[in-house]
């Protein structure tokens, strides 16, 4: 090892606290990049593999009943690669040990195993056998939740008949990676499952012999880019058989949830590391300027000895490289484990056959490159100024660039009131503008990220609170098989434990406004409804007008519509007349794209007398009352789905909220590191720059705490400015983050409160105090006498 390299290692050891601060920031930035990139690729590659291997459908067409032969003929159409027909139906599930009603989706599979579209992956047991017709394969997550396995029996209500079935296996499917009950936003494996029956058995059970009520299709690669024309041809061929709905892959619920999540990760994988590495490069630059300044005489001597500028630049570049390397390596290891954790978390509600964390050499190489580049650039730029000096200049003490009064001294009314300590601090800060600016910028970034994390955390809780304490006030939501009359509402209202029942009519439709169109639904409720209450941003209730729609802000944005505009509504089922409806007002919600209307007005618009297909219930919370209600609901043949508010909140917490809380917690941790390390390095750099000054003050008789308080004042000054500018920056970053999460399924509310800013201020004071403790320790241990002797 050369002498210069040996010197380098020992210099690193001497400056270890400073270097530790910079290494931490680099590690955080690299970790962020690695874990977000790796998780993004884990999910994306798992999705692509799964979809390819299982032949994921490009479209689904629900229809009343079509002969199998007609469906097969679709394969001849241009743009169609392959079609399958199957039977599908929503059913009630009767499990003996489960008091609450459970919903299910029945799908048919070929009696004998063969490759099909949306091919399922067996997890336990076997495919159907020839032994019995009444065999069933159950979705694996549902089976696990209910302790069901091969050989067990269960009952489904098929076409009004209670049917016993033998479980032969459990499976997962690419079309249910994110398995949600229609109308829900979170998986509920306790109350919703998928049940695969033999095609022959299902056709018989639902009176569809030789026919199907759902068509799946795959498009050719060319048609995938522009599927609409192909789909229109498919619909026109199937029109005689009563097309109900057509769903493209991009609108498929499971695919949308998954794709939105992957897309969001991809954006953050770029955005967040850039912020951290920018701060790291800045802090390292300032640190290197100071470290090189401290070695002016050594640099001059080495130059005098005959070391070239290039070799000395390499020496300091190595300094940055080693710092960056250590930071990057730590970041890579932490990033790997974070990717493991976050990928595992995604695996809890995204079901893949093979979702796991992989080592992506190019991602890790990228992380290493990011860490090294930022630190080498920072250190080389910091060292350049001194290296450009001649040996003689380098060996002379640096002459003060500025010796005159600073600008604030002109404010004599203020300047007179400052004691010598504050005057010293102000002059130092204003003369060394680079260090001061870098310190303020770094603490601003740290404070901004901290505020952003607090705002996002608050937003999460606000989202749940707003949706389930202000908008949705019912305890139970019922969905019926078909439209029913008011008699159904009265029947439900009389069920044991029901305190209040309100009718709901959900109309699935396509909204059109100018060139824009969007799939959604209108929820018809009574104008005086108390169990669903649309709200504005401030939480004030929005009355349901007798005419017109109350549209969620998100839907209005998607349609580019405003209150007063008229939109075209085309129901997906039944009569598909184009209906012109006015947007009366806008409402706020963070989940979904709700649109509301008066239930009677809705009935008038679609040309039907008052019809309902759901009900909102307020129920007695006591367990005995709940059990009684559940027992009666299980017996209701008209029931298609039951959604319990507490279950929805729990599922939301277990999935979306946990994922976001991991992100928010990490952001708080990162922000804390950046904030604290920025303060620490600025303070340590300040101390090292003024060692001689400190030694002189101590020699004059000032106490160590008095001298330390000078640096505390400086730290408080930089901290205060950084925190003050960080507060609005944090709000701005939050709006950027929220914009990334602005999808049809979720929106992140940006909610601020005085408590958030107070928390940030308190944390900034704690960080400043802790950083100062390190500085004070250095002051206490300073060999001031040695410094004075050396300067003599």
């Amino acid at each position: 090892m050369s002498s210069l390299d040996r010197k380098l290692l020992r210099d690193l050891k001497v400056a270890r606290y400073l270097i530790a601060g910079v290494v931490s920031i680099i590690a955080v930035g690299v970790m962020c990049f690695i874990y977000m990139s790796a998780t993004h690729r884990n999910l994306d590659s798992a999705m692509r593999r799964y979809y390819t291997r299982s032949r994921m459908a490009d479209f689904w067409v629900d229809l009343k009943k079509a002969p199998a032969s007609e469906v097969d003929a679709l394969a001849e159409l241009n743009g169609i690669l392959e079609v399958n027909a199957r039977v599908q139906s929503y059913v009630a599930v009767d499990l003996d040990d489960e008091p609450a009603p459970i919903n299910g989706l029945v799908l048919s599979l070929p009696d004998e195993r063969k490759p099909i579209i949306n091919d399922m992956v067996l997890k336990r047991g076997t495919y159907f056998t020839e032994r019995r017709q009444d065999e069933v394969i159950v979705s694996d997550v549902f089976a696990r939740h209910h302790g069901i396995g091969p050989g067990d029996k269960l009952h489904l209500i098929l076409n009004g008949r209670r049917q016993e079935l033998i479980v032969v296996g459990t499976s997962i499917s690419c079309e249910f990676v994110y398995l949600v009950n229609p109308g829900s936003i979170t998986p509920d494996p306790q109350h919703f499952g998928v049940f695969y029956l033999k095609k022959s058995f299902a056709e018989h059970a639902f009176d569809l012999s030789g026919a199907a009520n759902q068509v799946l299709g795959r498009l050719t690669p060319e048609a995938r880019g522009r599927p609409d024309a192909v789909i229109r041809r498919v619909e026109s061929v199937l029109a005689p058989y009563g097309v109900l709905t057509t769903t493209l892959l991009r609108d498929h619920a499971s695919n949308r949830f998954l794709s939105d999540e992957i897309r969001g990760l991809g954006v953050f994988a770029t955005m967040m590391p850039l912020i951290f590495m920018g701060v790291a490069a800045l802090v390292l630059n300032v640190s290197m300027v100071r470290l090189v300044e401290q070695q002016r005489t050594v640099i001059g001597t080495l130059k005098a000895l005959g070391y070239s500028d290039h070799s000395l630049l390499s020496h300091f570049a190595k300094f940055g490289a080693l710092t960056g390397l250590v930071g990057a390596l730590i970041g890579m290891v932490l990033g790997y484990f974070m990717a493991e954790l976050v990928t595992w978390n995604y695996g809890r509600f995204f079901e893949f056959p093979d979702l796991y964390n992989r080592l992506y050499p190019d991602t890790y190489a990228g992380g290493l490159a990011i860490g090294l580049t930022g630190s080498v650039v920072g250190s080389v730029l910091g060292a350049r100024a001194v290296l450009e000096l001649s040996p003689a200049q380098a060996m002379r003490p640096k002459s003060p660039a500025r010796g005159g009064p600073v600008c604030i001294e002109r404010a004599t009314w203020l300047w007179r009131r400052l004691n010598f300590a504050w005057r010293l601090v102000m002059r130092t800060a204003l003369r060394d503008r680079l260090r001061t600016a870098a310190g303020i910028l770094a603490t601003t970034t740290g404070a901004g990220l901290l505020v952003c994390s607090f705002i996002l955390d608050e937003g999460l809780h606000h989202l749940i609170n707003f949706q389930f304490e202000k908008i949705t006030l019912s305890d139970v939501h019922l969905g019926f098989n078909d439209e029913r009359g008011l008699a159904m509402l009265f029947e439900v209202a009389r069920l044991p434990g029901v305190d209040r029942a309100e009718p709901v009519m959900n109309l699935a439709c396509t909204f059109m406004h100018g060139p824009r169109q969007h799939r959604g639904s209108i929820t018809g409720i009574e104008s005086d409804a108390m169990l669903i209450v649309p709200r504005d941003r401030k939480g004030r209730s929005i009355p349901i007008p007798t005419v017109g729609l109350v549209m969620s802000r998100k839907m209005a944005e998607l349609l580019d519509a405003e209150p007063g505009d008229t939109v075209t509504v085309v129901p997906i089922k039944g009569r598909r007349d184009e209906l012109r409806v006015r947007v009366a007002s806008l409402t706020e919600s963070y989940i979904g794209t709700s649109v509301y209307a008066d239930i009677r007005y809705l009935g008038f618009v679609i040309g039907e007398t008052l019809a309902i297909n759901g009900a909102q219930l307020k129920v007695d919370p006591r367990p005995t009352a709940r059990n009684l209600l559940n027992r009666e609901l299980k017996r209701l043949p008209a029931l298609r789905s039951v959604s319990v508010r507490t279950d929805v909140i729990k599922n939301l917490n277990d999935t979306f909220v946990v994922t976001q809380e991991i992100f928010v917690s990490l952001l708080q941790f990162f922000a804390g590191i950046v904030f604290f390390c920025s303060l620490l390095t600025t303070s340590l750099v300040g101390l090292s720059q003024r060692e001689r000054e400190v030694a002189n003050l101590l020699a004059m008789g000032f106490g160590k705490w008095q001298v330390g308080s000078l640096f505390l004042r400086e730290s408080v000054l930089i901290n205060s400015i950084g925190t003050a500018t960080g507060l609005p920056l944090g709000y701005f970053i939050s709006t950027l983050v929220a914009a990334q999460y602005d999808t049809e399924l979720f929106r992140f509310p940006v909610v601020t409160s005085p408590g958030i800013f107070l928390k940030c201020i308190i944390m900034s004071l704690v960080f400043a105090a802790t950083a100062h403790a390190v500085v004070q320790r250095n002051v206490n241990h300073l060999d001031w006498l040695g410094i004075i002797r050396a300067s003599d």
Binding site: S3, T301, K303, A304, G306, S308
Partner: protein, 244 residues
Amino acid sequence: MSVKTIPAVESMPLLKLESIGKTYRMGEVDIEILRGVSLEVFAGEFLVIVGPSGSGKTTLMNIMGGLDRASSGRIWFEGQDLSRASPKELTRYRRRAAGFVFQAYNLIPNLTARENVAVAVELSRTSLDIEEVLRLVGLADRMDHFPAQLSGGEQQRVAIARALAKNPQLLFCDEPTGALDFETGKKVLRLLIDLKSGLGKTILLITHNADIANTADRVIKIRSGEVTSVTSLADPKPPEEIAW
């Protein structure tokens, strides 16, 4: 100002300076440190440049050693024009031809005595053996000590060993005894003179101490940036006989 130059050795000068001037910018002020300095340095001589503080002697040495550039005038080393040399050429000159001993020793604090000398040895293809050089300066048993563990005199000896280890033709010493006590300073002087006579090195020493000048072959006096006299000493005193 014209000076009377009496060469100590009748030969081509190793170093030749012609009308050297130097101006520094200190903050917002320009300061003229040297004015029209012309002199010659011959191989194998012990040359002392003496003058009060602020007279420009360190600046003169820096220019002769290639540590700094003159603002005006010319300087040659063995016929090579250093005043027009590129930074790379000046680096090469310092690496091969010059060694430096500073008043404040300028040792690298994180390296041992041996390693401080090694820093210089790694640069030169014609370097001397590290341990040999450290033994020569009397530090055989202190090689693995850090500067903080050595006395002032010992640190200066390490600095001399480092300057010597490159085997340069010229040894520039800027107030080498300035930070040392009287007895130690005399020992260091003795070492330098022994190096000159034993190894044939050309030594240029700067001092404000007129007594030290009595040990030289030639003495150049400088005041206010100008050479006031150049004197050869027919009978330089040994360091043991001088006192300050």
